[in-house]
Symmetry: D3
Subunit: 274 residues, 6 copies
């Protein structure tokens, strides 16, 4: 990997670049790579000089193989990022992900930073603290597709040495939108730092890490992922006044309060769109 | 569930009924249910009086919903049972399995006995003994689809209370065909007993169990699945003379000897058929 | 401990000697001790020549101290052995047990074999296999008193070196009385053997062991108690025909089927007797 | 729970309100509830306008049932809080605690914050760091009663959904009084914060957490209780000069130095008072 | 490895061939290898036709390198096998073992079966059951040298792929000589079978296994070593009458009864011989 | 231990006093002891008034016994501290260490702070976080000698109560010298603090702790050693600019990047010096 520009990477690929989190990364990636290839299923019209914009449906294999050409490493945010009918998930997150990995392996890509989700373990109760070895407990079709991604990427590492960091991202928004997000909040700044650690740590193997800021209350524990060097700087404590304290909800049967996945646990499986 | 016949089940469904293991079960199921619905992707022409034969492609949703109608419980052996191109796996084992579970849930089926596989954990080395909590280490697309099935069925239990026993079947043949199968051998008799335990244990929740006979050498440990009551009666020791002792193979880089999945670990991903 | 008779013990004490299990032990104890002191809250009228019968209410401290005088070791089956109103449990199993241990410690008794119960862990689900380190999950007041006994005896060992083996006895009857007891059955012969191991193993420290025969289905695992040498010889398999196979009960909310404690989990807390 | 005042709770109950820690909480509770019921075995003469003072002996069942009427949640500091003769412990901490829980369950109380103690695990050596799953090792009758409380409250959660947070409080005083308390110190401010977290976390199930400040040396680890959101702000480091460094004590047989319970490990069982 | 004779190995080396256990193996090794090289520090005068006898002091490096020439695999029983002054242990078991491994690696030997010992873990109490991951707790200089051997062989596997099976041999004699050996007994037949499994299992990596027969009481658990296929056929139960039951010894301070190492725990360190 | 001077220790011994880390400690030790005995294999010519300088070869037993006379506690940095030919390691780190411990035990020394090394576990991959119970994985002869030291000192604690803190020191230099040391860096200040904690914690038993500063990336986790009170104050973050970010090295076979031991993993075993 020659870097005449002095930047660490020659070409980084960002999928899902038009999404909420994709937008947070684009500026930063420019510091790390000469060329940033940005793709999404929707067109990207504001590509900067250092960016190569490509509109790609991940379910189309040939297009994905073209997308991966010449790429050093990949931040994969693309695909469906909420609960959705299974058929949609199947195309974007299962077939689509296979396309991404098989293309990456063929093209010699060395590392993928993969947006997994806390919904891969969303059916664990809120009264447990999960470490990175916690068993899968998906809370819907979306969560199941993230379990699939973690298992698929494990295979590509065991078989081909293609490294992946699976980010089990919590709630990455400008600010927490409800009391649950006080626990799952990941600030944009911490999200970008998490991607930086995932790209630059010398060896990562096949790693799993929770994407949460240093919030007062936590349902997850990243101790075993300390080799990635992620030290969140932000905390939802800053928004403490936003959701005034109330007596605990006495309805023990409200599963959206009982499980870490929150409202997702009741959403699936959705009916296919007509 | 009224059982005027005195048999425990009114109607059991067996998918993959035309396959190797399906054939082992058909006679036995007649003892347990008034009606045995047998299905496969190929036609079944020899249905007995108590059997309802249906030819179904699991990828066809409406057909699968029809297949599950009126079923008390299901032994699901259907789908692709060897390493295959991803697209084939996707149809039969991923889309097909989703169809089975969504139909089962809609139809009020109470339990599914699911043929998972030791290939869900085939990238663990042969020098480790796996208990039922061992992390997924799929050894190919087939193994990945079995991980998917274990995660999907976990969801259907957590969300809807639909119980599944995942059988991580080893090598179930008339007899071991090579030295590796001396370790992974599951006799037909023990296979049938394993299905019996899975169907009749009063509560199983979402369970995982290895399908191996009581072979002298074992790579797996079912201690934590003792609540299923499976006590294998056979052993590959009976075939001990078949593969004479040889000095250990000195080629440390032979992955088919190094990992539990054996030859599967090098097969995938296969190219799609032309 | 001089044993001029050649028997290992000079004087053994058996409490609860008039109960179901006490009766199983009396003959055997005669082989192990010159004198067998037998006590119960009801009178024992059939004392043999080698037996010293004492009628004692465990809640009466002075009587208990007298009971323990001159005793080498003790098999403590006394107290309430079923779910009961808390006040009854408090007298017999909490105050009574304190009286036994404080007297034993004062009298220099070296070892107590204590009848704990699987109801100390009865709120674990039937889909888990418990080893001897499983956390307490009592299923009623009786179970709570057994947790108390395990903790109290731990203290007496840590503080004074007074050894105890806590027997988490399952269902020790002539034969299993219902399907649940097919799992929890402890034959009388295995019960006696378990007491023998507990009395004669040279060092036991503070030990916990499940009292179950080698039944086909098991919810518990004694691997970590192998230092006690208990190898059950019987199995509920012998009674397999007694409870014909039925399809699993579909009522997921039936706690008596869901938890290891069975009917106990719904019994407590009982109202005090008028 | 209607809160016309805007305060989260309508009525909170504080037992042991006249004690050292009770006094720390009274002012704070006024911020969280319209009415604070304060009780103790001794009379409370300084009740504020928002306080309902009740003098109650916990061993008196009817009085305890009256005490719990109309209560939303309870901070239970009452009972014996030091090593004492068993009979005293039995009345206040065992019978008394049963009375509290059976009344709370009958009255529909939703949550109890229970003052357990590090003496429930005091017979662990000072060279181990205990997480919240560490097995019980009580160091006296007081510690045994706290084990009883943890087990009893577990039952009430498993059976009735009545939630409890068990606070294994270390040494909560104005400041550490000896070198051991440099490790076990819990500042008053951190104590109040711990109660706040225990009352306001939306779901707690049955939780255990150590009550210690962020002291330089720690024998306990609250990682698995991170879902409670307790982040201590104080540290015994502030008192570092108070106990000058000395060479370690060479007397290996001094149990008060060897076990976490300190002087408690040698106190019990005390003789009943004449 | 061409085997014109049809025997699996061309040349096996047995060190310590003149010792008690060495003698048990010599006849058996003839079945497995064309040539059996037998060595000891004392002369071996009864070499059979298929045997090459060599008298070697393991501390002499050049001699050890000559000893390893042309060897396929090695059963290493040589060195000091009882507690001894450190200087003797240092020569035979530390320097000597280094010589063996560095020579084996240079000569391309593929596997070593190494006689470790239960004295590597002898300071664990008799009230615990150790699995193969139990931490080292050596009970003397001999035990420390066995820990050294396990660590050294681990290095040679991690660094060079040279495989070792460490046999933590208990008490392998004609029959148990005292009550402790009823627990640690390894029959000669089971010892030979254990070596057979260690030599012929296709891959062993760096393995640890306890060498005990299927005795009624066990302090160790080989579950995690099931990949080696060792199923003991004998049991000390056969000698049950030899050591009549006695009441447990009340002397809690007798360390030879308290720890698994038995009398070894008090032997070391011995003074050097004059 | 009378301390008329008011200093905690009468006489502390520092071995390896002429080395890099020894020099960091000498000034500090003067604050803790009236007399500081400083020794090395090279002469120490700059002894201060409170220092007793002794030139000692650790392999010479009589000299080591003299060295330990009158010593309260010992910081043992002496011996070979890099990878070296086995014979050199054998003399200094194995025979030498035995001499130190046997002399310490004879002289009644109460505690040893022992410089172990992360090379005792250097063959663990950089993608794992090791706690203090991680199994030995030495990465060379030096690492093996440190495993030996940890096992030997364990014995001396179990047998004689002689306490040791094993410091698995990472890279303690003025500053990190390469990217790997950004992870393993231990500042001099934190090193001194670690020794202080190890000397002054009242009871340590046989403890293991990693010697690393609070670096952004960590391969180790000291949670279970929190009883030692070590809170590092420094971090390699201060040197972050020194090693600019580069894309991860794609050579998966570079073991110096793959294992925690770094370059050590390829060094051994070295040939003896001519």
């Amino acid at each position: 990997m020659s870097q005449t520009s002095g930047k660490p990477f020659r070409r980084l690929l960002l999928t899902g670049a038009a999404g909420n989190l994709g937008k947070q990364l684009r500026a930063k990636l420019a510091e790390w790579a000469d060329i940033v290839r940005v793709s999404d299923i929707v067109p990207i019209s504001d590509a900067a000089a250092h960016e190569e914009a490509m509109q790609v449906d991940l379910a189309e294999r040939a297009a994905v193989h073209a997308l991966l050409e010449g790429v050093d490493a990949l931040v994969h945010l693309g695909g469906v990022s909420v609960e959705a009918p299974f058929d949609d998930i199947l195309q974007a997150n299962i077939l689509g992900l296979y396309n991404v990995y098989s293309a990456a392996q063929k093209q010699g890509v060395k590392r993928i930073v993969y947006a997994s989700s806390n919904h891969a373990v969303g059916f664990h109760p809120v009264t447990e603290v999960l470490d990175i070895d916690a068993p899968h407990r998906p809370d819907g079709m979306y969560g199941i597709s993230k379990c699939f991604g973690e298992d698929l990427s494990r295979y590509y590492f065991d078989r081909f040495g293609l490294e992946t960091v699976c980010l089990r991202i919590g709630s990455s928004f400008e600010q927490p939108k409800n009391p649950r997000m006080m626990v799952t909040y990941l600030s944009y700044r911490d999200f970008v730092e998490l991607v930086r650690c995932s790209l630059f740590t010398n060896r990562v193997g096949h790693a799993i890490i929770y994407g949460v800021s240093n919030n007062p209350t936590l349902w997850v524990d990243n101790t075993k992922a300390a080799f990635l060097g992620f030290r969140p700087q932000d905390s939802s404590a800053e928004f403490a006044g936003r959701f005034p304290a109330t007596a605990p909800d006495p309805q023990m049967d409200d599963w959206t309060q009982r499980f870490q996945g929150g409202p997702f646990v009741l959403m699936g499986p959705m009916e296919p769109k007509a």
